[in-house]
């Protein structure tokens, strides 16, 4: 279970996040929405232990966020930018990051992980892949060490609808079947509405809140 309690973040005198409180249960997919600069990425980075909150506390399965080193073993982070070795094949990318990961996986397991995401070009170089395939590989690498919490920063930017749907379906399955906690940011409201169980609206602008209420989505009050 992920618990966020009275979390605030200031950059100097500028308050980016103010008293954020929410709890996410295993198997849930949570969306983070808000206008540009509202603090979605900042919140995601705090959840990923890459930034320290100014105030408040966080815990994942009762493990405090102060214990960063141990906590990071339980976190999978999918950066917004595609973080792959372009000159490597899909296989080489997976093997490379597996060697440096916390958990050992066999090549068969790594290949299966890619196939689960409908990424079946194991021997092809990354530079020959479509944007959608690259995004799938970007996510697959973050899942090598089998994390409990998966944080995705706009993981489907600039890809076709089919790939987006495939990624969405996979993430839903991952949460429901394996009990992972998934936190997801996106500007695409349709995607958020179809994928996320509950949604956190960041920022003062009521636009997103109204939109979600119209769609009948459950909003987490922060």
């Amino acid at each position: 279970m992920l618990k966020v309690h009275n979390l605030s973040k200031n950059y100097g005198t500028r308050k980016v996040l103010r008293d954020i409180n929410f709890i996410v249960n295993p198997g849930e997919v949570i969306g983070l929405v808000g206008e540009n600069g509202a603090g979605k990425s900042t919140l995601l980075q705090i959840l990923a232990t890459l930034q320290k909150p100014t105030n408040g506390s966080l815990s994942l399965y009762e493990r405090n966020f102060e214990d960063k080193k141990k906590l990071r073993k339980q976190i999978g982070f999918v950066p917004q930018e595609i973080a792959l070795w372009d000159e490597f094949t899909v296989e080489e990318n997976m093997v490379f990051f597996e060697k440096l990961a916390w958990t050992n996986r066999t090549k068969t397991q790594l290949k299966q992980l890619c196939l689960d995401m409908k990424l079946n070009r194991w021997k092809d170089p990354v530079k020959s892949l479509s944007g959608g395939m690259k995004r799938k590989l970007n996510i697959a690498i973050s899942l090598i060490h089998d994390p409990d919490l998966l944080l995705l920063d706009e993981p489907t930017v600039g890809i076709d609808l089919k790939s987006r749907k495939e990624i969405g379906n996979y993430l839903k399955r991952l949460a429901k079947d394996e009990g992972k906690i998934i936190v997801y940011t996106s500007h695409d409201m349709d995607e958020i509405i179809s994928l996320c169980d509950r949604i956190v609206c960041i920022g003062e602008d009521p636009f997103y809140k109204n939109l979600l209420e119209e769609a009948g989505k459950s909003i987490i009050p922060v």
């Binding site: 980075q45 930034q51 320290k52 990071r72 976190i75 490597f88 093997v95 060697k99 440096l100 060490h145």
Partner: protein, 381 residues
């Protein structure tokens, strides 16, 4: 370290060609330059023909002495061949060491010991003839000394001295070598003489190799910039091996690789260029390698863009080559600004010394970089 080796191997599979090129570049470039320089030097020497009609030790010693003269290239030929080549102006002059050379010298005769030929286009005949004559005079002088000593020995037979011709000649040569008048330094009113022994010379195989080696190390270490690119660095926060540790461990692997190549270089230079292998040289090479590798590592973690890194690499290499005196003579500059030499990481190596200062400084800088906290903002990172 196993994981680092395995991941490095994946990278090297993609770049083995360029890696091999840059690793071997200093050896190949040095051998090429030294070969070219030697052949140019040979071409610019005066071609002289030597005909040896007898094979006595004294005649052969004379030929060796002439061959060791730096300004001439000696062709040992038969008389007919030598004269034909002289007629065709392929040789500047021809000297013939006549049959009975040693015998005549031992008899104390000084007439017609050497026969010489010149052509109408011989431009260096006079100085070369003077030089050959000076060698012959050395032999006749020694002979005279031998005869005098033997006469004195006979007069004072009871002194116990009973030296052979060879012993006296060998002793004479040893004294000559010990008291080399040409290398004696004189001082005027206790003025300080310039001490040549401690000055380093860049234009030797190791000096040339060092410059190319600096450049090649910079080129090989560009992997640091490629592999610590901004998009990939967030991944390492969630790995067993953090980015800094990954870079440092890989740098150690490269150090090992470079050391292997350096040992190969020492062997190649010994075999091809006759460079002596000493323990001091081995340690000087290792120390130099450590300095250059750590320097390249620091430059690569400081610069984010490859073109800027390459630019800095070339400028730094050129700067080191210049202050080492490879491109322009810098004696005046160095004597005026001695700190220029102190700031030259190449100086200890070229003086065949084990340099510590740069290594200590670089280790401290790397340690500071390693313990310093990483910037955490992923988006901005």
């Amino acid at each position: 370290m196993k994981a680092i080796l395995q991941t490095r191997f994946i990278h090297l599979k993609k770049h083995w060609g360029s890696l091999l090129f840059w690793l071997l570049f200093p050896i190949i470039a040095t051998l090429t330059i030294m070969g070219l320089t030697n052949s140019l030097q040979q071409d610019s020497k005066v071609p002289v023909g030597i005909v040896v009609e007898e094979t006595t030790p004294m005649a052969l010693d004379l030929v060796d002495s002439i061959k060791q003269t730096p300004i001439i290239r000696v062709e040992q030929l038969s008389e007919d061949e030598a004269l034909t080549q002289l007629e065709q102006h392929q040789l500047d002059s021809v000297f013939i060491i006549r049959e009975g050379y040693e015998e005549q010298i031992k008899k104390g005769s000084r007439n017609r010991l050497i026969k010489s030929y010149r052509s109408d286009l011989s431009f260096a005949y006079s100085p070369i003839a003077e030089m050959v004559m000076s060698y012959v005079q050395q032999d006749t002088g020694r002979t005279k000394a031998v005869l005098t000593i033997q006469e004195l020995s006979e007069q004072y037979a009871n002194t116990g001295g009973n030296w052979t011709w060879e012993e006296i000649v060998d002793k004479s040569k040893a004294v000559e070598a010990e008291e080399n008048l040409l290398q004696t330094s004189f001082t005027f009113l206790n003025a300080q003489t310039e001490e040549d022994a401690n000055r380093f010379v860049l234009f030797n195989p190791w000096g040339v190799w060092a410059i190319f080696s600096i450049l090649s190390t910079f080129m090989v270490m560009d992997w640091i910039i490629r592999e610590r690119r901004k998009s990939l660095s967030p991944r390492f926060f969630f790995m067993r091996i953090a980015l800094k540790s990954y870079l440092l461990r890989n740098a150690m692997l490269y150090l090992l690789l470079f050391i292997i190549i350096d040992i190969v270089t020492i062997a190649v230079f010994f075999k091809s260029l006759g460079e002596a292998v000493t323990l001091v040289l081995i340690f000087a090479v290792l120390s130099f390698r450590l300095t250059v590798l750590m320097g390249a590592f620091l430059l690569a973690i400081w610069i984010n863009k490859l073109p800027v890194y390459y630019g800095f690499s070339f400028v730094l290499t050129l700067l080191i080559a210049i202050i080492s005196g490879a491109i322009l003579p810098t004696e005046g500059l160095i004597s005026r600004y001695p700190w220029l030499q102190l700031g030259n990481p190449l100086a200890p190596f070229l003086s065949k010394e084990i340099g510590y200062e740069w290594n200590i400084l670089f280790v401290i800088l790397i340690a500071i970089w390693f313990v310093r906290k990483e910037k955490r903002n992923v988006k901005g990172a």
